[in-house]
């Protein structure tokens, strides 16, 4: 595209950079005041070098300083020169420094703790890098400026050189955050020496950090410079060899999945089991929201129905007192699920978008309130719930405890993913997509929208209920407090994070939104804040999700966007000019 662009106006560029730096500074102030900086300070990233607390502020500044010289397309300006870019990044760092130093001085000299309990002297110590008075202010300012300079230097690199570098830095952070997980695995394998080499006081050791950094950097560089050739060579391998490689890889992944709980130990198996339940729910809600486009905010209702139906059928202590075997109860629960799905779906068939969301939100709450109610206490046990749910048994094997339960959950996740995939790629999935795009046209194309909506609700409900069934046997009791609106929101968030309509996306989303917070106990308090932040960021930067399904990804391709506007303009210019027009 060779559109004409205005020459760069340095004053505008710098003004924008200063603004963004100031915003990053305010983000830092916010992170400090809500207590994130201080809380995360106990967590080492690279022990003795960086802690997570100050790093959160640093990352905010780095992002702002890096984005600052990139002008919005709408400005229609030419690319700024390298020098100007560097100046802009540095200015952004300076602006952030100004805001943060003022904040530091305020925290040190005024006692703000009546209003902001977190504005404590210990926060001041963290922000001033452990130094006192003006030296501390200077240290903070120097840090901000250095970050600005780093961002500016990143701009000077070609993007293919920059990517491996950024990936390497991100990898260090990630490996460090995975400490509770990996450390546990090392210890289970009795590799104490390895654990000692990699981690120290909840952070990476310096040699391990360097190792991770350079390994990822090397891989990234290889991918950039030699990746094309390597791929060509792989492609030129005979079909049979490639298939064998695929099977061998699958085999190893399978073996790894099978021995994983024994590597992870009880606590982590528990976490992965919970993630599995959320993957199941994510797959189910993905059918309703991602494929059929029906925004359901009350998905927890199905989770609850599944959990309670299982409890009623299997627990000898329940009001029914049947004490059925779990594997006999499960098909019954699935039938109940489908009926519930249709019952909830039928009255809302004519509703769309926001209205549907509000009504389903209501349904979710109704289910919870019914379970909690005194009137139905004889059946559902009120706030106390239903106790003594026996674990599933296969022959003589009792699948009790997180390690054993991991296997049936894994089996159902794989089954669920297969079902979701095969439906999505059939006539049914196409009909759902068409309905999501334009309901009226879908009907005129011959799709019975009523039936297809109910089908989506029913199948989505079955997924939710199976997850609920496993929840009940996993914890052995069910009670309404666990089944609140937050479950619905979490499931929806993980779909949005991973990418609407994408199965891989659901799996990744569940690990990030459900798995990570369990590993990083420091995060627990800020869970909702982080959810909100993640969703807003995703909507702004990558609305198609982290691992979008193919067609959605193509949607946001720049070239196509440009083409499309062109055609729309043309279409708009030509319509409304009939040969004979009305008087």
């Amino acid at each position: 595209m060779n559109e004409r662009r205005r020459p760069v106006d340095p004053r505008l560029v710098l003004k924008r950079a200063a603004g963004m730096g100031a915003i990053a500074g305010l983000v830092g102030v916010y992170l400090s005041l809500v207590g994130i900086v201080e809380r995360f300070e106990t967590r080492n990233v690279v022990t003795g070098v960086v802690t997570l607390g100050l790093l959160t502020v640093a990352i905010a500044i780095l992002v702002a300083a890096f984005v600052a010289p990139r002008l919005p397309r709408a400005w229609g300006m030419a690319e700024p020169s390298r020098g100007l870019k560097f100046a802009a990044s540095l200015l952004a760092g300076a602006a952030a420094a100004a805001v943060l130093v003022l904040f530091l001085i305020a925290v040190e000299s005024l006692d703000l703790r009546d209003i902001f309990p977190n504005a404590s002297p210990s926060l001041a110590r963290i922000l001033s890098l452990g130094m006192d008075g003006p030296t501390g202010w200077a240290a903070l300012a120097a840090m901000c400026l250095a970050i600005g300079a780093i961002a500016g230097a990143l701009h000077a690199l070609r993007s293919r050189d920059r990517q491996p570098l950024v990936a390497a830095m991100a990898a260090v952070l990630l490996v460090s955050l995975m400490e509770p997980f990996l450390n546990n695995v090392f210890l289970q394998l009795r590799q104490n020496a390895l654990a000692g080499f990699v981690y120290e006081r909840s952070g990476l050791t310096i040699p391990a950090a360097l190792l991770v950094f350079f390994v990822v950097l090397a891989v990234g560089a290889f991918e950039t410079y030699r990746g094309e050739q390597a791929r060509e060579r792989v492609d030129s391998l005979p079909e049979a060899t490639r298939r064998n490689v695929k099977y061998v890889t699958l085999f190893f992944v399978g073996v790894l999945l099978l021995i994983l709980p024994h590597l992870m130990g009880v606590f982590l198996s528990e976490v992965v089991g919970t993630v599995g339940l959320y993957i199941l729910m994510g797959l189910g809600l993905n059918i309703v929201v991602g494929y059929a486009g029906l925004l359901d905010l009350g998905y927890v209702a199905f989770f609850a129905v599944g959990a309670y139906a299982t409890a009623l059928l299997t627990s000898p202590a329940s009001s029914l007192g049947l004490g059925l075997d779990f594997w006999i109860a499960l098909p019954i629960v699935m039938v109940i699920a489908a009926i519930t799905g249709i019952t909830i779906g039928a009255p809302v068939l004519r509703l769309r978008g926001d209205y549907l969301a509000i009504v389903t939100l209501g349904f979710g709450e109704i289910v919870r309130i019914l379970l909690l109610s005194d009137a139905l206490r004889p059946i559902f046990g009120g706030a106390q719930g239903i106790l003594a749910i026996p674990p599933p048994e296969i022959g003589d094997l009792r699948l009790a405890g997180p390690v054993n339960l991991y296997y049936p959950i894994l089996a159902f996740v794989i089954l669920g993913a297969f079902v979701a995939w095969t439906l999505a790629n059939s006539r049914i999935g196409r009909a759902w997509n068409a309905m999501r795009e334009d309901e009226e046209v879908a009907a005129a194309t011959g799709i019975n929208t009523t039936n297809y909506k109910l089908l989506a609700f029913a199948i989505g409900a079955v997924f939710g209920c199976v997850a609920g069934a496993f929840l009940s046997v996993k914890i052995g009791v069910v009670f309404p407090q666990r089944l609140d609106i937050l479950v619905s929101i979490t499931v929806l968030s993980l779909i949005i994070l991973g990418g609407m309509g994408s199965i891989r996306g659901v799996i990744l989303g569940a690990f990030v939104l459900v798995g990570l917070p369990e590993l990083l106990r420091e995060f627990a308090e800020y869970r909702l804040l982080i959810y909100g932040g993640v969703l807003v960021t995703m909507m702004l930067l990558r609305p198609e999700g982290l691992l979008p399904n193919r067609s959605r990804q193509r949607e946001l391709h720049e070239e196509h966007d440009a083409e499309e506007t062109q055609y729309q303009q043309r279409a708009g210019g030509d319509t409304g000019a009939p040969a004979i027009s009305t008087p």
Binding site: V419, T422, L423, S426, R427, I428, R430, A431, N433, A434, E437, D438, E440, V441, A442, A443, A444, T445, G446, I447, N448, T449, L455, I459, S551, R552, R554, E555, H560, E563, E564, Y567, R570, A571, D574, T575, P578, A579, I580, S581, T582, P583
Partner: protein, 288 residues
């Protein structure tokens, strides 16, 4: 919408005419027409959008409906396709009374349509759009799809094959088949919409202003394409247009609507010289 008329006196609305369904059915059998519409009326509250319209579509023919903006053309169309339930009157299609049936039933019986303002499934690929059009002719059910049965796979392969043939027929390059529908050039979007409609093997194809927004060159191409479709597929085509040139070129019979009523019907020659039509289009002075 064609209901933006407000100059009708409120009292003139409710003349109820109920033709016996059998009359239309009998007439259809007599003429061998594919579609017979008798005394079709549609009222929106006090507004009369269509008043007692009679209309025939012979098999394998191209007929057109023209009329100024707001004449009731699209309302008429929407009743044929099941979007609106007629206030009164009958629509007999291929021997069956379809008045008031749901759009998906009507599509299944063999009526395909396009839209005045293109309505593709924009975020789906070109090929998928056509495959959705084939939906009514496919038989695999959800539980079969879920089991991934060989019959389902075979049907999918056939559908893909058929969809590609249709893309060839309407002249869309294979190159585009994995492209999202919304990224197609405007004229190709029109073609894709037609391919989608044809995918359901319709006996009657309804085209709502197929040349809207096209330049004279493209319009001529589209006109040619429409007559080719009739010859190659042997289907009947109903056109709504307000571009007179298109209509005169391809249709055998033309019906003119104005203020919701049929004011003329005949061959292009007859319509061209009809004083009522000229008046409706150009105003009273033109006839004087």
């Amino acid at each position: 919408m064609t209901t933006e008329r407000d100059d009708l006196p409120a009292g003139m609305t409710a003349d109820e005419v109920s033709a016996a369904p059998s009359v239309a059915t009998v007439e259809a059998a007599k003429h061998g027409s594919l579609m017979v519409v008798r005394s079709l009326s549609k009222h929106f509250g006090g507004l009369v959008a269509n008043r007692e319209i009679d209309f025939d579509i012979p098999r394998n023919s191209i007929v057109s409906i023209i009329g100024p903006n707001g004449a009731g053309k699209t309302t008429f169309f929407n009743q044929l396709t099941g979007f609106f339930e007629p206030t009164s009157g009958t629509i007999v299609f291929d021997g069956l009374d379809i008045a008031g049936r749901s759009p998906n039933d009507v599509a299944k019986l063999g009526i395909g349509r396009t839209y005045q303002n293109i309505r593709l499934f924009k975020e789906m690929t070109v090929l998928a759009n056509v495959m959705v059009g084939r939906h009514v002719r496919l038989r695999s059910q959800w539980f079969q799809a879920l089991l991934h049965l060989p019959s389902v796979k075979r049907e999918e392969a056939e559908t893909t094959q058929r969809a590609r043939e249709l893309l060839d027929l309407v002249g869309l390059s294979r190159r585009y088949e994995d492209e999202l529908a919304r990224n197609l050039p405007y004229g190709d979007q029109r073609r894709l919409e037609i391919a989608r409609a044809l995918a359901s093997d319709p006996k009657l194809l309804l085209l709502d202003e197929p040349t809207a927004g096209m330049n004279p060159g493209e319009t001529a191409q589209m006109t040619q394409f429409i007559s080719r479709l009739r010859h190659e597929l042997g289907i009947a085509i109903l056109l709504i247009e307000h571009d007179m040139k298109v209509v005169m070129g391809v249709s055998e019979r033309i019906t003119v609507l104005d203020h919701g009523e049929r004011i003329a019907e005949g061959t292009p020659e007859q319509i061209r010289t009809d004083p009522l039509v000229i008046e409706a289009y150009l105003g009273k002075q033109a006839t004087a």
